[in-house]
């Protein structure tokens, strides 16, 4: 009888600790695999590609690499000589059109006073229209003058936002093509974090959930919240060929890699002394609000 009790005790003690081990193991697995966090996070920022609005030689670059600039600060200057000349040309044309208008106006008033004996009715009527045409020519010259002025203004390329000049490669003597980006400006107020979460974790993430951001290899913790979740990513398994037919990748049936969906995190709090750099790697840990 005593042996039986001892046997039951032995079996139940062993089974109990096995059960506890299984439960704890399962809890750890769920916590590790199914909680919304990722090591695959990136600090991002909006970058403005600065291009000149007019073409020409770059005569002067007034910023240094990685320099902070305020909105409206001069970045570089394009050779303005040609644009000065076109402005002068436009001014001259404007002057000429003004004189022409005065001439036509004079003729018109004079002809209006003459009678049919001296001038044909056709000529008299036309003179009014000729004046109007001269007025239109003057307006055109005026617009061209303003255009030339604007072009001259735009030879000075200015910063559209507060931020840092990055990877400055433009040098005096380069030729700047209108519209071709010459330098990058990182918007100071635009830093955010992209967390690339596995697709099966997305249902655990909600808008405005508080987020903890840890920069790679440091103890620096940033606070933020979920701002938005991407609503689409590329289907990598289905590119189209030149004949527009589907080209479906054969994939393994057993092992599937979860795809990553970007979740945009707004940064609320940066510890003093921490300078963020766009492109930094970080871990993103979402703490679901509920």
């Amino acid at each position: 009888m005593k042996d039986l009790y001892k046997h039951i005790l032995r079996i139940s003690l062993t089974l109990m600790i096995v059960a506890v081990a299984i439960i704890l193991g399962h809890m750890l697995w769920v916590r590790y695999m199914d909680s919304p966090w990722t090591r695959d996070g990136r600090v991002r920022a909006d970058v403005v590609n600065i291009a000149s609005d007019v073409s020409g030689l770059v005569t002067e670059v007034v910023v240094r690499d990685n320099q902070f600039v305020k909105k409206g600060d001069l970045l570089f200057r394009i050779d303005a000589e040609r644009y000065h000349h076109s402005l002068e040309e436009a001014e001259a044309r404007l002057q000429q059109r003004k004189i022409t208008l005065a001439l036509k106006r004079g003729q018109s008033t004079r002809r209006a006073m003459l009678d049919d004996q001296v001038i044909s009715r056709e000529d008299r009527e036309d003179s009014d229209l000729v004046t109007l045409a001269a007025k239109a020519d003057l307006d055109q010259a005026l617009a061209e003058r303003d255009h030339a002025k604007l072009n001259l203004q735009r030879t000075e390329v200015r910063a559209p936002v507060d931020g840092w000049v990055s990877n400055l490669l433009v040098r005096p003597g380069d030729y700047a093509q209108a519209g071709a980006a010459k330098l990058a400006l990182i918007d100071q107020k635009s830093y955010w974090v992209y967390g690339y979460f596995e697709e099966h974790k997305l249902h655990l993430i909600h808008l405005n959930d508080p987020v903890e951001i840890r920069l790679l290899g440091t103890d620096i913790v940033l606070k933020g919240h979920v701002e938005s979740i991407a609503r689409g990513i590329t289907d990598r398994d289905n590119p189209t060929d030149v004949r527009l037919l589907a080209n479906v990748n054969p994939s393994f049936n057993w092992v599937r890699l979860a795809q990553r969906v970007p979740v945009r995190v707004h940064i609320d709090e940066i510890p003093a002394g921490v300078e963020l750099v766009a492109g930094m790697t970080c871990s993103v840990i979402v703490h679901p609000a509920s």
Partner: protein, 65 residues
């Protein structure tokens, strides 16, 4: 507690630390249990030891995450 640590510049899950700590703890606990003679009340000793280690490791892991 950070979820990963830099070990000789290689980034590893902190679980590895928990694993090593659990090994040490388990080794000590095992000695104590042998000394107390608890194992005579155990059915399959190997199974018990494995479960004991799992419990320690998972409990430490749950503390971290």
């Amino acid at each position: 507690m950070p979820r990963e640590i830099a070990l000789l510049d290689a980034l590893m899950p902190t679980l590895i630390l928990a694993f090593i700590a659990a090994l040490l703890l388990y080794w000590l606990l095992d000695k104590v249990l042998v000394w107390l003679g608890v194992y005579q009340f155990i059915w399959y000793r190997a199974l018990f030891r494995l479960s004991l280690f799992s419990c320690l490791f998972c409990a430490l892991g749950l503390l971290i995450y």
